[in-house]
Symmetry: C2
């Protein structure tokens, strides 16, 4: 259901930390390239619900608060499509 | 500080879901191969502290509750060393 091209178009904020190619620019952040789309969507929904703490969870909750279910599907499809 | 060989020796429980080569056997679980060691350690400590909910967080808390700081460092080094 996620659209890779739409996900790419929505990924500018993500790329600041997770890299334009899904390789994080800081070892404290996860690489996303090639990660399973279903897991990425689950994690984004969890951050949005405030279900994660520690690390950058506060920033992730702020970013994900603006995301619709479709946004989450698109972003997940986009990062899953990248070469790890 | 993490030791790859020690991490491998401690990874049997992890492999049941995250795969012997760090490729998850279910798309709802994350691939770990090639993930940043610092992020993996952060996530494992967060699970251990009960800082994550949703998905398999309850199972992850149970597994990580038995891990020492050194175990977490070793497991993180091991999965980071795998080819994504």
């Amino acid at each position: 259901e996620g659209n890779v091209a739409d996900g790419q178009a929505k990924s500018a904020s993500c790329a600041a930390c997770h890299g334009a190619t899904g390789k994080a620019n800081n070892a404290l952040y996860p690489n996303l390239a090639g990660q399973n789309a279903a897991y990425l969507a689950l994690a984004l929904h969890d951050y949005k619900k405030g279900g994660r703490s520690g690390g950058q969870a506060g920033i992730m909750q702020a970013f994900t608060s603006a995301l619709s279910d479709q946004d989450i599907s698109d972003l997940s499809a986009y990062y899953a499509s990248q070469k790890p």
